[in-house]
Symmetry: D2
Subunit: 270 residues, 4 copies
């Protein structure tokens, strides 16, 4: 046994995240993540308009998505990029959730918005850039709303688990981990999807693990294949970007699946 | 000319951070950073007690430090590590600032604390983990208190400058950039100090640039040498960790300089 | 479509490696790699003794391995580590090949040994450290013996394909590409297995692609899982380390599978 | 003291490379590298023609270069790029060496060429791609001709020193280490110049250390600054690319200094 891995497991074994305190099946609205079911989370990068979110929500729901993903608050590298519709976007998500009876996952960037997220959102996403925003982690840890924590762009697995531990240590045991690619030196793919991490996370924690091949690769042509590979490693589901009009998307247009490719993917992983 | 660098410069040239909107000499309490002077920022990783911060403040001030650094709010990888003294630490910093007449730089992790930071602190540090905590950047951007933004652990230079741009775009033109090492594959050093980044930042922005060789290398033996190298690249100063009782430090004990080594270093770079 | 990937594909399309000049099914002794069959290559890191290589060869053959892997010439980081049995090791491989009727893959480090490799070996491995040893590539390119080229430890996909192109450009069209993990910053795994690379290589070349989860992860516990994931991405086979007495292995003891784990793995991927 | 560094030093202390077996001042033709003198190695990426190498040799010699660098055998990523003039290039180097009385450093890629290198060349360069081409290291280790070993593109310091140890273990004690940048995730610079590595190498070995800011950064605008920074870290010299007609260079045109910039640089570091 590799020594570094043995030491890692020994350290992790002292955390709550590796123990049965953590729920391995997590109720997210009317859907359960974990428990042997492979969940499909799909939707656009961002809520752009009432029409857009309605069209896509209906579409992904029909094709088999269990949760709708769409950003209302968007962490954008440049201050001059589209920053999301904010509270207006949340209200649109509330409406499609009711119309299509589909649970909602969306990113929270500021603890000030916790109350409105708790009311509207079914699964609160903490994004990669905020993986070590410890006050944000404490805030969602103090509630009981399920949290999906995305791995930081170059977080070690230990840093990732210790970030999750901030949530558990504050009392919330409904945590889903999300592998979304790590930064590397080759810019052909957006990041490097680290599927070994999924295999390890499934061994050392009780948490469900979701894989995001859209951000990890940025290449629509291989997203279906990588989704199947994620399933082979024991992942509990995938989260993918889908847009009904890919070329018009306001963010991440490169990596969104078209409706027809998504339909095939949803069948393939079912 | 390397094509990627040419394209980078072209994109950066459209930002305010590269223009004369930015102050190149920044008044921090009774000291000016920039303007050809090489600034020395020194102090412990964290405020630990009244005695500790008094002893170290007196010591670094006597040896030539221009600013005192010490963390009150500490972003720690594990929730079970010492998290800093918080507001109590800030009050201790206020007291040593008055006693020793030395400006204070310390990290702000939560926008809720902005008012107390604005009152007590001379230079607000935004740490590496929060480089892309955009709401925090906007908050300090809306004030006029000088901000030192540390480069994220694997931020590209463009991401670093766009994060700084969030501050400028909100109106604050008192920005200091800090290179503190990037993550790499060799664990002999804590990180890799990227001095080429300093040379480039001095070319494409008007901001003062500070180098943190303590976090970048984690090896006390080479910190003095790397401080001199930083000066050679055009850096406007260094920020180093100093502790009067290195073995007893509550955080980052490995990389703190002893008083005598700091004294030599301060002379060498003066 | 991601722009960098589009440009990459456009450049690659001008190479022979992406064209039908390349054989997509490669005869290696009595076995064919490619053509829809999932190949299992197994054996010890190094030939250590006549007994050891006989025991392991019989074992992996019985359990379903199609090729035997074992190093005679070993590229070791330290000059003071076991360097392999060299020519004596090759002769032992020749003997087990005949005894057990199993083709042999082993690493060639020096073009001087080409003739003996051509005589004895069925598939010549060029190791990661030699991926850009261009004279070695030219030498194997001038023959017709099949070559398995391992990706360099931090080679981009384009560098990898251009290295393979050195072989094709010299006339050899029997090339198998091997993904074996890239170096990253987290030492919990030995390297990061880049399965997206496999999906891309299967899109842009005609070559069979083999995955080496032993070197990529270094963690025996996840090697079976990662082998299945490799199959999901379209890989044409795996290469794994197996040892009958793991604790006594002279090299890479950490990552060798025991006979019983290998037996399960071979069934799972069949 | 950082634990990983302490362990590293302990392991290195058992190698010959860290002991007085190694020469700290190395005679290279009529010049000595080490011994407190800062050496300047300059010249084109490749020998392109008799005229080109004569013009540049005269130019760099006049401006203060101590050694001429120029590739005859070029390790190129693509088999379709200019591969160097080979033996013809070596003969041209022999001629300019005699004409201008300047020692020559050039890269050897194949042990078959050792005898001609030993005859003509003053300092044999082993390039980054061949840092772990162990047979090549053994070959140059068996001679007494000085060797400059370049760090691999993502070699740890320990791997770098163990590669050098292959040379020492075979008897050659005239070794110069060259830091030339490590691969990272930001493509604005070609690589990341790791000057901390220089400080550490000067602490743990007796070897002279040369810095190559041309390959490390790929940005001519910052090469002079980074050369000064290299000197500050204790490097024994720099190696830079210079071309009299930068735009017409057959390789690495982006990073070659013009004659006038080189002249300024040579003065600055003298």
């Amino acid at each position: 046994m590799r020594q570094e891995y043995t030491l890692f497991k020994s350290r992790i074994s002292k955390l709550k995240i590796g123990s049965e305190v953590i729920n391995s099946a997590i109720k997210v609205g009317n859907h359960t993540i974990g428990q042997g079911q492979f969940s499909i989370i799909a939707g656009p990068c961002a809520v752009e308009s009432k029409t857009q979110i309605n069209v896509i929500s209906q579409l992904v729901k029909q094709q088999g998505a269990h949760l709708l993903r769409a950003g209302a608050f968007k962490p954008r590298t440049s201050p001059y990029s589209f920053q999301g519709l904010g509270l207006e976007g949340l209200q649109l998500l509330k409406q499609v959730k009711e119309t299509f009876n589909i649970p909602i996952v969306t990113e929270m960037m500021n603890e000030k918005e916790y109350d409105i997220f708790e009311e509207i959102v079914d699964l609160i996403q903490i994004g990669s850039r905020n993986m070590q925003n410890f006050d944000l982690l404490k805030k969602v840890g103090q509630g009981s709303k399920p949290v999906m924590l995305k791995r930081g762009l170059n977080a070690t697995l230990e840093e990732f688990l210790l970030a999750a531990e901030y949530i558990v240590a504050n009392g919330n045991r409904n945590i889903i981990l999300c592998e979304r690619g790590i930064r590397s030196y080759d810019n052909v793919t957006r990041n490097v999807l680290d599927l070994s991490a999924v295999a390890i996370l499934k061994q050392v924690t009780n948490c469900p693990v979701i894989v995001d091949p859209s951000h990890a690769t940025g290449i629509t042509e291989i997203i279906p294949t990588m989704s199947l590979a994620a399933k082979s490693t024991g992942a509990d589901g995938i989260m993918v970007e889908v847009h009904h009009n890919v070329k018009a998307a306001l963010s991440d247009a490169d990596q969104a699946l078209s409706p027809s490719v998504f339909a095939q993917l949803a069948k393939a992983v079912a």
